[in-house]
């Protein structure tokens, strides 16, 4: 069958796709870690209208996910938020006017990385990348890359429980472009 082509998310998704609590996969959980950073373009300027989605294994290694990422209150229709028990594995966060995002989650079990899907105005087809929470020798993706390229996928610890991960959509003359992935 002919596949449906991608089109840009455009600039006006903000009242439709982001939802309250979208960036907090483990509300109230004492074991949650913070992953944050900026999205930059090829001029080194922050991208204030990018949308990042995250998909990861649960802390127990499960890849089944769970419903309830955007759980709703049937009375008011408002987003009631995750129930704090089920780990849905899915996060969605738009960059702010500084091009910054913050995600709170639990480290996945069995794999060292979070899957990331990047959308933006000016990006006609989304991009996949990964946040590796630690350097992971022997990982089939990292081991095929030069050290400089692999480094774009590995989050930098800033202080206990807080990691920095930037996305660079294009080489800006100084900083390495993020490694983006295709799946076959």
């Amino acid at each position: 069958m002919t596949v449906t082509p991608s089109q840009t998310v455009g600039p006006f998704y903000g009242y439709a796709l982001p939802f309250p609590g979208g960036a907090d996969l483990a509300p109230g959980h004492p074991g949650a870690i913070t992953v944050h950073g900026y999205v930059y373009d090829g001029a080194g300027a922050p991208v204030p209208d990018a949308l990042l989605e995250f998909w990861q294994a649960g802390p127990d290694g499960s890849r089944a996910g769970a419903t309830g990422s955007m759980r709703r209150d049937p009375v008011t229709g408002a987003v009631a938020g995750r129930d704090g028990v089920a780990f849905t594995g899915f996060g969605r966060v738009a960059t702010d006017p500084d091009g910054h995002y913050t995600l709170r989650t639990l480290p996945p079990g069995g794999t060292p990385y979070l899957g990331v899907c990047v959308f933006a105005r000016g990006l006609l087809h989304h991009l996949y990348t990964r946040v590796y929470l630690e350097s992971s020798p022997g990982d089939p993706v990292l081991s095929g890359l030069t050290a400089e390229r692999a480094a774009t996928l590995i989050a930098t610890p800033e202080r206990p429980g807080v990691l920095r991960f930037d996305v660079r959509l294009q080489y800006d003359g100084t900083h390495e472009e993020t490694v983006f992935l295709a799946f076959e």
């Binding site: 449906t4 890849r63 309830g68 899957g115 000016g122 006609l124 993706v141 959509l169």
Partner: protein, 247 residues
């Protein structure tokens, strides 16, 4: 200097002339759409062939995430929105033609006057207090989705001088795997702006581009009520075998 439509038309023709035949998705490096210039990677994508990749599974949604009336964008406020009432329906399929069941479909769009309910939209067309333009639903067991909404208007943008986007509805889709994720736009048949729009024309292959244009379906039109459009969506990307077998 600001480009004209004639400039853009020439750039589109030049891009078409060197496009890979049969390519489905737009090239991320597509200069006629100016915002792509600094927002596409220059390095090749790194191909992952790991059957254990987490991305071969994906997020799930359910009845806790979606309310029944979310699919009717004309019923989100006290009054009736202005414009032409339409229903849009179709099936979400994987590339083997299997239905994507129970999965989230999200839509957003401009109102009938071509204005988004978004603070960043400065087009001097009226907002409609009875229309926000965002909806969602879950596909049924045949992969079917249905929305009731208003036909969106065309609107200007600043890609080049006198640039107008053809009327469209934004769609966000999930498959059974994160690799099948798709955000795209549905267009309406017969719009003279299609040929001039660098976002639609970024899909160089004509057959693939037709995939983005809904069919008017008179049998879906409801007498004295609404016009009907049909639009099926086929998701790209691999999924884990165990998920396919389990569904």
């Amino acid at each position: 200097m600001e480009s004209t439509q004639t400039d853009i038309d020439a750039e589109i023709a030049a891009a078409d002339a060197v496009a890979l035949p049969g390519r489905i998705h737009p090239d991320r490096d597509y200069p006629p759409y100016r915002s792509t210039v600094l927002r596409h990677p220059k390095q090749s994508l790194v191909v992952v062939r790991d059957p254990e990749a987490v991305e071969l599974s994906g997020p799930v949604f359910g009845v806790t995430d979606v309310l029944g009336h979310d699919a009717d964008l004309t019923r989100q406020h006290r009054g009736e929105p202005l414009g032409e009432r339409i229903t849009v329906t179709g099936r979400v399929l994987d590339r083997d033609g299997h239905p994507i069941r129970g999965q989230l479909v999200e839509v957003w769009q401009a109102n009938a006057a071509g204005r988004y309910a978004h603070g960043g939209d400065r087009h001097p067309a009226p907002l409609d207090p009875n229309f926000t333009g965002a909806g969602r639903c879950l596909t049924d067991d045949e992969g079917r989705y249905t929305f009731t909404t208003m036909r969106p208007g065309a609107y200007p943008w600043r890609n080049h001088r006198n640039a107008w986007r053809p009327a469209h509805i934004h769609f966000s889709l999930f498959g059974t795997a994160f690799t099948q994720r798709l955000v795209t736009q549905m267009y309406f048949p017969g719009d003279p702006l299609h040929a001039r729009d660098p976002i639609l024309r970024a899909v160089a292959d004509e057959k693939a581009r037709r995939r983005l244009i809904a069919d008017y379906d008179h049998d879906l039109s409801v007498p004295e009520w609404s016009l009907g459009y049909r639009w099926d969506i086929v998701l790209d990307g691999p999924a884990a075998t165990w998920i396919e077998e389990g569904r």
